[in-house]
Symmetry: C2
Amino acid sequence: MMQLTSARMETMLGNDYSEQTCSVASALEVVGERWSLLIVRDIFLGVRRFEALQKDLGIARNVLQTRLTRLVEHGVLEKRLYKVRPPRYQYALTEKGLDLWPTIVALLQWGDKHAATPAGPPVVLEHRGCGGAIDEHRICARCSERLGPRDALAKAGPGAGPRSPLRERPAPRVARAA
Amino acid sequence: MMQLTSARMETMLGNDYSEQTCSVASALEVVGERWSLLIVRDIFLGVRRFEALQKDLGIARNVLQTRLTRLVEHGVLEKRLYKVRPPRYQYALTEKGLDLWPTIVALLQWGDKHAATPAGPPVVLEHRGCGGAIDEHRICARCSERLGPRDALAKAGPGAGPRSPLRERPAPRVARAA
């Protein structure tokens, strides 16, 4: 069943990684496309509406729409009605999408370490309620709890730009995206 | 200094993510390009020579060469002479490259969970010497040690394809790539 679905997707998407029998390649089939992981990151940070995503990412509307549609088709995001008249939608992470949190955190920590701006990290993650830092094993440096996406609080760090979505409102829970 | 370098790279590479003040975006500038993370994965698995990479990935030689050159320029890989006459090179992960291990493991585990083949995971990671499974916090499920890339052993899993580089020789240490 899963194979059928996967084969159909490959046909539909003309995916270049389809020869690869590897879970990293399979993951990149879904989220490796340009912008996809940045969209997922934005939704983790609480940026959930098309207009807000478009403003934050600064990409063409059609590209954003294509990526969002694909992430919904793959079950990473779901579209939710948040206002009935007029109908307005926002995007939320499914459980499959929330499971991308370790990938996002790994990229964030690698970027903080190896591509840091002189001002410091733009986003700082902490253990919600506890305030401890989240270490590279996603464990709270203060209380040693193993953390998941619902336990994390993302705050604007010293290197956050003026347009950071974390500056525009009080630090959202990373989990609000769920 | 870092800012200068970064600005120069943006100019050189015409990077679309340059407006983004975010470590995830900075990380994707370096490794987000199509194939880059699969090349890094291959080198973690011990596939280090141009010909072997080309065979395993099945991509055009010029694309592979461009990606390898870029990863070397960014300090993720380094080219090492392994034979003098005739001169032959292989690629190895630098410390910066080894620091991508959490990202690769996160993508691998997400792919195992959400894009699995019916046969099971193509690659299985275990704690070298101990044999314990590596959990989603990169901690040994048997001895509770926090693991890094040098502690991991990658083995062909039940879903490994006939062309898996892990089938061609005894399971290499993930760390051999270093």
